[in-house]
């Protein structure tokens, strides 16, 4: 390759990178501003429908017709909208003030176990961590959150027929570490494997949630120059695997 061609390619690449980081910033800004500015009118709706119900609810519900139902739909809608906006706000904040440093991966898992401890012991769940665990170059808070969300999902989508068992394994790849979190839960159809990381995507509606947990996981992994995948079989269990780059050598 001539120097000229090389130089041209390099310039193209730099330009693409600049475009990408600008659009990323815009997207973050959008989510942040939208959730803030949407918050205001929604707060009005939520507050005043509540006052309407408190002060006139009896009259509306006792009057002939569906007035009470309308009231309940407005209230329910406001609660859901609030949940979505809060989730959007949380999601847009992921990665702000991120700071990577070297620390034992074990610490992130321990932090997650501390958060999930009561839930795990209540369900008699067992978590096996296969040694050895490496030191990783990552943001420790974000990693703790990543493990909390992934292990928390294993617990949330446990099988009604088996005690939850969760296994965590690490593989040393060339430029990254791959973590595998396996469970014996209800699983899902493999065709949905990519969709589960979408924001607000929920495969099941029988569990509570905003559909944000795995979207946050994906964002955290992307912030660490990694990738996240899901492998699952219905009623057999799910494996979430993700890579974390080792950073500068």
């Amino acid at each position: 390759m001539t120097d000229e061609v090389h130089q041209e390619l390099k310039e193209q690449l730099d330009q693409k990178i600049a475009e990408l980081s600008r659009s990323n910033r815009e997207l973050e800004q959008f989510a942040y501003v939208a959730s803030h500015d949407l918050q205001e009118p929604l707060r009005m709706i939520a507050n005043f429908v509540e006052l309407l119900d408190t002060e006139y609810g009896d009259a509306i519900r006792n009057a002939p017709g569906d007035g009470g139902l309308y009231l309940d739909y407005v209230k329910g809608g406001a609660v859901r909208a609030k949940g979505l906006i809060d989730a959007l706000l949380v999601f847009s904040r992921v990665g702000r003030g991120m700071r990577r440093r070297y620390f034992p991966a074990r610490e992130a898992i321990d932090a997650a176990m501390l958060v999930l401890g009561p839930g795990l012991s209540e369900r008699n769940a067992r978590v096996h961590v296969l040694d050895p665990l490496p030191e990783i170059f990552a943001d420790s808070e974000m990693m703790a959150r990543l493990f909390t969300n992934v292990i928390g999902n294993s617990l949330k989508y446990r099988s009604p027929e088996r005690l939850p068992e969760i296994e965590i394994e690490v593989r040393d790849l060339e430029g990254s570490y791959m973590f595998l979190v396996r469970d014996n839960g209800v699983g899902f159809h493999q065709r949905d494997a990519e969709r589960i990381f979408d924001l607000f995507r929920r495969l099941r509606t029988d569990k509570n949630g905003a559909g944000i947990g795995l979207a946050i996981c994906q964002k955290i992994v992307l912030c660490h120059d990694g990738e996240i995948f899901a492998l699952s079989e219905e009623d057999q269990g799910t494996t979430i695997s993700f890579t974390i780059s080792k950073g500068a050598p």
Binding site: R43, M44, N47, E50, L51, L89
Partner: protein, 151 residues
Amino acid sequence: MYMTPVPAATSPVRILLIEDNPGDQLLTRKALARTRLEHDLIVISDGRAALDFLFQRGEHSNAPRPDLILLDLNLPSVDGPTVLADLKHDDDLRRIPVIILTSSEAESDLVGSYTRHANSYMVKPGTPDQFAEAMTSLSEYWFVHSRLCPR
């Protein structure tokens, strides 16, 4: 010189609400009405008018001095942070506690408010009950447990 301290229960306390959203004005009024605090609520919906009121300028030359100020950050004409900064630059007015009452959870607004010497920062609650609860703890803290600077 003898100065009367702000009495806790004997005479109404004077609260100045600087807020442009009529909905929030009503919510604050209702929330305060649910506390046991005897109070006069003065509402001003514009930053410049609020400063004129507090500095007793123009038509506000006889304006009464509030015991406590509830200040929104987003205001027409002069915005909340500027109102706050002007108050806290004044040797006299800076003694009146200013509570920021905003819907913003942005860290820059929070830090900026304390940097300009806000006395407290409250995020507007999401339900009327929470609003009333917030106003109850606020009034108990500032008017029962705390001693304010004499008027």
